[in-house]
């Protein structure tokens, strides 16, 4: 499936980018509404926003999502690598391809075309209404205004479909691996269980879309938990990976030994068979900067949000009718996390 879908996604993406970049100013009566201004909207730096922790958190969430780090997908895929495979080159190629599709192709389609047809203010308003509206509501309206719009519209939705379906398979691969490897369930049966699970959790997202149900999932799972899980993964990789092997006289000595040598196993595994050696500076970046950065980021955001008038955590300013559905979304997320935690705990205690 991916062998056909990914090349098609790239081709459709390239065609759409060429179409968008050659649009110029579609309506001469509104010279401000141009593709160039759309690109400017994305790329002009606004340094004042750097003081806002939520911007940093959104950026961290974005990168951990797109590189599949905070979701466990990359770990599930990495487990299929052979010992002689080159981790560095594979990892770098994956992230480079992803950034190419996202930054160059993705960044040159939706927002520039929306600014060209609706202007910056309306585009911002559409984007603020939720993650769904720009891609699924605004884009079809724009395509209707273009010659051969039905063709470009079909390409756009096929592109989204391919991106969505391949991402869904990738996102579910850790769950599938868990069902197969740890619970001994066959792949066919596992697929049915996951399908039922997705169906049950997916339907309310569609039914209660207008109540901000999906935005809750998008924010908590797609941003906050991604950064938190990435922090846990960093600790596991940097400190616990070789920590299990460390023997020391006391707990304190063990912790000190892990702090000192913890990273060596991971670093050695990463660089084995690698043509491109990772610069030594990244050893220290991974060991100290990343954990510290994520901790500061998380607590900084928590403090800034809780003291804000528009607190997302406390749902300030949310319509009470919407808040009920958003609380249900939160509770289902907590339920799913607890359920999975329980499954992992059961498997772990059986192993012991």
């Amino acid at each position: 499936m991916a062998k056909v879908a990914i090349p098609l996604l790239l081709i459709f993406g390239a065609i759409l980018v060429i179409r968008v970049l050659t649009l110029g100013t579609p309506d001469p009566r509104y010279p401000d509404q141009s593709v160039m201004n759309g690109l400017a909207f994305i790329w002009n730096p606004n340094l004042s926003r750097l003081k806002d922790f939520s911007v940093w958190l959104a950026a961290a969430g974005q990168i951990f999502f797109t590189l599949s780090i905070g979701t466990g997908t990359i770990q599930a895929y990495a487990s299929y690598l052979r010992k002689e495979d080159d981790c560095v080159l594979t990892g770098l190629s994956t992230s480079a391809t992803n950034e190419f599709v996202e930054v160059i192709l993705g960044g040159s389609i939706a927002i520039p075309i929306s600014v060209a047809f609706f202007g910056i203010a309306t585009t911002q308003m559409i984007a603020r209404q939720g993650s769904f509206d720009l891609g699924f509501v605004a884009m079809p309206i724009i395509f209707q205004k273009l010659p051969l719009g039905f063709l470009f519209g079909a390409m756009w939705f096929l592109l989204l479909f391919f991106a969505g379906i391949t991402s869904s398979v990738a996102l579910m691969s850790p769950f599938m691996a868990f069902l197969q490897d740890k619970l001994g369930i066959t792949r066919k049966k596992g697929a049915k269980i996951i399908g039922a699970f997705l169906f049950a959790f997916g339907l309310p997202i569609i039914f209660f879309l207008n109540y901000g149900y999906m935005d809750q999932y998008d924010f908590w799972i797609g941003t906050v938990l991604l950064a938190l899980l990435a922090l846990c993964e960093t600790f596991v990789f940097v400190y616990a990976f070789s920590g299990f092997k460390v023997t020391a006289a006391s707990f304190r000595k063990k912790i000190l030994a892990i702090m000192k040598n913890g990273m060596k196993t991971g670093w050695g595994e990463m660089n084995r068979n690698a043509d491109i050696k990772i610069p030594r500076a990244y050893y220290y970046v991974l060991k100290f900067v990343v954990p510290l950065y994520l901790i500061v980021l998380f607590f900084g955001w928590l403090w800034q949000d809780l003291s804000s008038e528009k607190s997302i955590i406390l749902m300030k300013g949310v319509d009470p009718n919407h808040a009920v559905f958003q609380w249900i979304a939160r509770l289902t997320m907590i339920g799913a996390i607890l359920g999975m935690g329980f499954l992992v705990r059961t498997v772990w205690s059986k192993k012991r």
Partner: protein
């Protein structure tokens, strides 16, 4: 677009493009061995 925007766009697109070419050249080389 401001000067900053132009710089970011050029660096962003340029860096990603060079990285993709570099990676796939290496992958191609590796697959030939």
């Amino acid at each position: 677009m401001t000067l900053g925007g132009n710089i970011f766009l050029t660096l962003g697109w340029g860096f990603v493009t060079i990285l993709v070419i570099y990676c796939y050249r290496n992958l191609l080389k590796k697959s030939k061995h």
